[in-house]
C-alpha cells in the first residue's frame, strides 16, 4: 500500500487558553485508503493527544464526525484524502458555535429537534390485538426523510442558519415533515405551531445546499418546500375547516 505525506491543517480552539480559533498543521503519513477521520486518529494517537473531535462508527451511520473539509461540509469517515492535494484544511462545522477544536455545540440543535416533536402522535390506539398497519406506498411517502443521521452538515451548508440563529433549520424541519407524512400520525397541527412559525419553514429561501451536502440523500430542501405548500393550504383551508367543525 503506497503512503504519502499530507499536511493536515486543523482549526483549533482551546477555550481555556485561546481567544479565537487558530490553525495548526500536522504532517501525516497517509495510506491511499485513508479518510480524513483516519488522519485525525493518527494525529491523536501519534502526534498530538490534545486534539479533540467527535467520532464513533467510522461508516457513515452515527453522524458524529461532521467537519468542514476544504470549506465543504463532509463526514470525516467517508471523505477520502486521495481526492485532495498535499494540504487539507479541516475545520469545525460552519454556523455552529465551537466548543473545542473540531467539536461544535449541538445543544441548540437538540432544542430545535425537540421543538418540532419528532415522534408519532397517533389519533388513538389500535383495537386490542391489532397493530398499526401501513402499506409500502404509505411508507414510501416519508421513508427518505427518516434517513437523517443528525450529522448537521445541512446546518453548516445553510446560510440562513448562519444569518438567523433562531431558524429551526433543515434537519429538524425534514424530520417534522417525515412525521407529518406518516399515515399513522395526527400531530401535524401541533408541529405546525413551530414549523409554520417565523422561525420555521418561511425562514428558508431555498438555497438548496442542505440537500447537496446531505450524505444520506434526505433532501431537506425538498421537504421544507413541501411544508411551505402544506402551510399555505392550511392557512387557506383553516377557516373552512373551522366552519365544518361548528
Amino acid at each position: 500500500m503506497t503512503e504519502r505525506t499530507v499536511r493536515i491543517e486543523v482549526l483549533r480552539y482551546r477555550p481555556e487558553t485561546d481567544e479565537r480559533p487558530e490553525w495548526q498543521g500536522y504532517d501525516v503519513p497517509c495510506r491511499e485508503d485513508w479518510v480524513v477521520l483516519d488522519a485525525l486518529n493518527y494525529i491523536k494517537d501519534h502526534l498530538d493527544g490534545t486534539l479533540s473531535y467527535r467520532w464513533s462508527c467510522h461508516m457513515a451511520v452515527c453522524g458524529s464526525c461532521g467537519l468542514m473539509v476544504e470549506g465543504e461540509p463532509k463526514l470525516g469517515c467517508k471523505t477520502f484524502l486521495r481526492d485532495y492535494g498535499e494540504r487539507v484544511r479541516v475545520e469545525p462545522l460552519e454556523n455552529l458555535a465551537i466548543e473545542r477544536d473540531l467539536i461544535v455545540d449541538m445543544s441548540d440543535f437538540g432544542d430545535k429537534l425537540a421543538a418540532v416533536q419528532p415522534y408519532l402522535m397517533p389519533r388513538g390506539t389500535p383495537p386490542d390485538g391489532e397493530t398499526y398497519r401501513q402499506t409500502p406506498a404509505q411508507l414510501d411517502r416519508f421513508r427518505q426523510y427518516s434517513m437523517c443521521i443528525n450529522c448537521l452538515l445541512c446546518y453548516a451548508a445553510c446560510p440562513q442558519v448562519g444569518l438567523n440563529p433562531g431558524y429551526i433549520g433543515p434537519a429538524a424541519l425534514a424530520l417534522a415533515h417525515r412525521y407529518d407524512l406518516d399515515s399513522r400520525d395526527a400531530g401535524h397541527d401541533r408541529r405546525a405551531e413551530v414549523t409554520a412559525s417565523e422561525q420555521g419553514v418561511w425562514e428558508c429561501t431555498f438555497v438548496g445546499e442542505c440537500s447537496e451536502v446531505c450524505p444520506k440523500s434526505v433532501d431537506p430542501a425538498g421537504a421544507i418546500q413541501q411544508m411551505k405548500l402544506a402551510c399555505s393550504l392550511d392557512y387557506v383551508l383553516h377557516p373552512l375547516r373551522k366552519g365544518e367543525a361548528s
Binding site: 470549506g71 446560510p159 444569518l163 425538498g222
Partner: protein, 129 residues
C-alpha cells in the same frame, strides 16, 4: 469548573461568494429585481395608456429607445434564468405520484417547460389577433 466558552464565528458579508451554488442562488434571487422593475414598467404603460395618445406615444418611444431595448433584453435574460432554475427545482417541491409510483423528476421539469411554451404560444396567438 466548566471550561465551556463556545466560540461563534461571524458570517462574513461575502458568504455568497464562497461557493458557486451560493452565487447562483444570489443571481436567481437578483433576477426578481429585474422582473419587479418590468412589472412596474408595465403599470407605467397602463397609466400612460389611460392618460391619452400623447402619453402612450411617449411610453412607446421609451420602449424602442436604446436604453429601453437594453432593459428589455436584460429582463428577458433574467426571466429565462429565473424560470430555468425554478423549473429545475420544481420536482422537489411537488413530488407527484401516478399509480403509486413517483413521477420521475425530469418529467415534472419537462412538464413545466411544456406549460410555459403553451402559455407563450397562446399569448402570441392572442397578440397576433
Amino acid at each position: 469548573m466548566s471550561m465551556a466558552r463556545p466560540y461563534t464565528r461571524p458570517v462574513p458579508r461575502t458568504w455568497w461568494l464562497r461557493k458557486s451554488n451560493y452565487l447562483h442562488y444570489m443571481l436567481r434571487e437578483l433576477t426578481c429585481v429585474l422582473i419587479g422593475a418590468w412589472s412596474g414598467w408595465l403599470v407605467f404603460g397602463l397609466v400612460a395608456l389611460a392618460r391619452g395618445a400623447a402619453a402612450w406615444q411617449q411610453f412607446v418611444t421609451g420602449l424602442t429607445s436604446t436604453a429601453g431595448i437594453v432593459f428589455q433584453v436584460a429582463v428577458l435574460v433574467g426571466a429565462l434564468y429565473h424560470s430555468a432554475t425554478w423549473f429545475a427545482l420544481a420536482p422537489r417541491t411537488m413530488p407527484l405520484r401516478l399509480g403509486g409510483r413517483r413521477v420521475p423528476a425530469v418529467w415534472i421539469t419537462l412538464g413545466h417547460y411544456l406549460a410555459a411554451a403553451l402559455v407563450a404560444v397562446v399569448l402570441l396567438f392572442l397578440g397576433v389577433i
